[in-house]
């Protein structure tokens, strides 16, 4: 299995790392890739086992002139260890889309399965999921920015260490495997203390810096899982930005597979 092979890779990488650091030789290309993967595998491993979670999210969209528009979204997510997560997203604001909900079965590799429920028509529509690079509700977040992190989605390159938000952090370059991604690469700052993502720089298809995402106010849940209270995405090319604020985080709420189907999609509030 993929997970096993990754573990094996991590093990061998870890061994080669100790050897490398012992000799204090700069990392060659292969070793940098292995180290980048190792850090990402560790970050994922530390955020595994939460079973399910629910949260309320507020998005504040801001254009260049500073005009704001608010979206309110509720999410329910079921963690699957042998596949991508299942999630239900319910829109509350803007008012004209209230009651609209979105069901997604994500897959680490390949297209996700997605359905949209339109309450005014009482219609469930299966939608094409290749639109990963498109904006989510007019915000600076694309669909892929909001999907769960899966190790298989990227190739890696370890760039070095840097201080960020007062924390010693790894800098890891991530290259999307999916050809429909809107990015050539992302640079991710992961702190060494708890392997939390502190900042991400996104480079567009022409490899110019497009956006920067910064997380703040991390809180720990169930003595293990770290979640930020807010995040800010700034688009350097358009001057627009979007702030996310999360509230009412809950883990292990007892959600099961049966909470994610067409019926629950239609009923979700």
């Amino acid at each position: 299995m993929l997970v096993k092979s990754i573990n094996k890779l991590v093990l061998t990488t870890a061994l080669s790392m100790t050897m490398l650091s012992a000799f204090a030789v700069p990392l060659d290309k292969e070793a940098a890739a292995a180290r980048g993967l190792e850090i990402s595998v560790e970050a994922k491993a530390r955020d595994t086992g939460w079973s399910d979670n629910t949260s309320d999210m507020q998005m504040v969209l801001r254009n260049k002139q500073g005009q704001e528009s608010v979206r309110e979204i509720k999410t329910k997510t079921l963690e699957l260890l042998d596949d991508g997560d299942k999630s239900l997203t319910i829109f509350n604001k803007p008012r004209d889309v209230k009651g609209t909900s979105f069901l997604s079965f994500s897959h680490p590799v390949g297209n996700d399965d997605q359905w949209l429920y339109l309450p005014s028509l009482k219609r469930v529509k299966r939608i094409a999921s290749r639109n990963k690079s498109g904006p989510f509700m007019g915000s600076e977040f694309s669909f892929e920015d909001l999907s769960s992190f899966e190790v298989e989605k990227y190739r890696y390159n370890y760039l070095g260490d840097e201080q960020i938000n007062g924390l010693d952090s790894f800098m890891v370059e991530q290259f999307p495997v999916d050809e429909n991604s809107g990015y050539t690469r992302r640079i991710v700052w992961i702190d060494k203390e708890a392997y939390r993502v502190q900042k991400i720089d996104f480079y567009d298809r022409k490899n110019s810096l497009l956006k920067t995402l910064s997380y703040s106010d991390y809180k720990q849940y169930l003595n293990k899982y770290w979640r930020a209270d807010s995040a800010e995405m700034v688009n350097h090319q358009s001057g627009k930005s979007t702030t996310l604020k999360w509230q009412n985080y809950a883990f292990k709420t007892g959600l099961v597979d049966g909470d994610f189907n067409r019926n629950t999609l239609k009923r979700a509030r």
């Binding site: 608010v70 604001k93 008012r95 004209d96 009651g99 299966r126 498109g134 509700m137 509030r269």
Partner: protein, 417 residues
């Protein structure tokens, strides 16, 4: 006289059904964990470019206002809920278009792998965009708009069972709703006004016939599949000219006759990368005739078109009906060999701006229609939409022939709360 499309007797029988449920639930409502009031208020102005073909039709402007609040109560962590959604439109010109309806008044209980839904509800079946063949449970509220998208609430008890092999829905549908029709002063109608008096039924139970349906739906890999069987009152009336018994300024009116039907339907969508392949087909048997009809096509989406964040969707659909186009004496199907083209541009901006263009053509004779729809959000909770519809036909048996002078523009402003 302003007319409420929900006749009192029917309203009472519905009330009997729902009030039992309401009474059962009223004690729970007191304990409701959640109550929400939302909804919309709208103002709509239509402008017709030409004078109507028939005497007494309104000249050019048609104004109306409408209100659709939604009351929602839930308890038991959302497992039980009651939704009440009344609707009323006041139209300044067409008395028949001034009408009210209970879009929804229902109780829903969700178990682990089943749901019970009872009361007045709307249920949509199908996958295609230009014609909804498979969608059969709710009656069309045709005075709302002539595209057939608006539906009247339908009384039903629906048990929904979730299995590994799909969802099975069982429906018992007590009572039937007559279709709404444009009045004498209204545009977008045929030469003879449809009367809502002396409505005839095949069933001796008339509008109280107990209808039933069973539907299976499932998602397998890229396919979303549904199949159903419906038995009961045909939602499409047969219209026959008769001498009017009441109104003297309309000597001849069309009388509605609803026969009984059995309908088998399937709807399939394959979602493959940027392509949505859609197929709907029905087989209907009635005392008058048996026929097949199919609507099929695709939707392709260009993501991030013109180097922007916008998506461009292209749609092509084809409609066929085994009854054919008929002739002057026995007009058959309105969609029998018709092709549809559409383009949808979603800007994906802060205001959710959208443009939709569509065209339909009857391949058997000269009949075309064009639609243009644009909408966007203004501020946080106002939605503005502009529609333009153009119709052209030289074939008297075609549905569009009688509305060929009814090209119009429609502006709607809706406030959501």
């Amino acid at each position: 006289m302003k007319k409420v499309a929900y006749p009192l007797t029917k309203a009472l029988s519905v009330l009997a059904l729902t009030s039992t449920l309401m009474l059962m639930s009223i004690s729970f409502i007191a304990k409701a964990e959640e109550f929400e009031l939302s909804g919309k208020v709208g103002v709509e102005q239509r402008y017709f470019f030409n004078e109507g073909q028939f005497d007494s039709q309104l000249k050019s402007g048609q104004s109306s206002v409408y209100l659709e609040p939604e009351f929602y109560w839930s308890w038991g962590d959302g497992a039980d809920s009651i939704t009440f959604k009344p609707y009323y439109r006041y139209d300044g010109q067409d008395d028949e278009r001034s009408h009210g309806d209970i879009r929804e008044l229902s109780y829903v209980h969700a178990g682990d792998d089943w749901e019970l839904r009872a009361g007045i509800r709307k249920e949509f079946w199908g996958v295609t965009e230009f014609q909804h063949l498979a969608d059969v449970l709710n009656q069309t509220d045709s005075v709302e708009d002539f595209d057939g998208e608006d539906k009247l609430g339908q009384q039903m008890i629906n048990l929904s069972l979730v299995n590994d092999w799909g969802i099975v829905d069982l429906y018992v549908l007590p009572g039937f709703r007559e279709r709404t029709f444009t009045g004498q002063k209204g545009r977008l109608r045929g030469a003879i006004v449809v009367s809502d008096e002396h409505v005839q039924y095949e069933s001796s139970a008339e509008e109280n016939h107990l209808d039933g349906a069973i539907r299976w739906s499932h998602s397998v890999d890229v396919f979303d599949v549904g199949a159903y069987w419906f038995h009961g009152t045909n939602r499409e009336p047969i219209l026959t000219p008769v001498y009017s018994q009441s109104n003297t300024n309309q000597p001849i009116v069309l009388q509605q006759y609803y026969n009984q039907m059995d309908q088998f339907g399937v709807d399939i969508q394959a979602t493959i990368d940027d392509w949505l392949w859609k197929f709907e087909s029905i087989y209907r048997t009635t005392e008058q005739d048996d026929f097949w009809a199919t609507q099929a096509g695709f939707e392709y989406t260009y993501v991030g078109v013109f180097e922007s964040a916008a998506d461009l969707g292209l749609l092509v659909e084809y409609g066929w009906d085994s009854r054919g186009e008929g002739d002057d004496n026995t007009p058959a199907a309105s969609v029998q060999n018709d092709i549809y083209f559409g383009a949808r541009l979603a800007f994906n901006d802060m205001q959710s701006s959208e443009l939709l263009m569509g065209m339909s053509a009857d391949l058997d004779h000269n009949a075309y229609s064009f639609i243009f729809e644009g909408n966007r959000r203004v501020g946080e909770s106002i939605k503005v939409s502009l529609d333009i519809r153009l119709m052209q036909s030289t074939e008297p048996t075609d549905l569009l022939y009688s509305i060929r002078e009814d090209d119009h523009m429609q502006l709607a402003v809706e406030w959501y709360f």
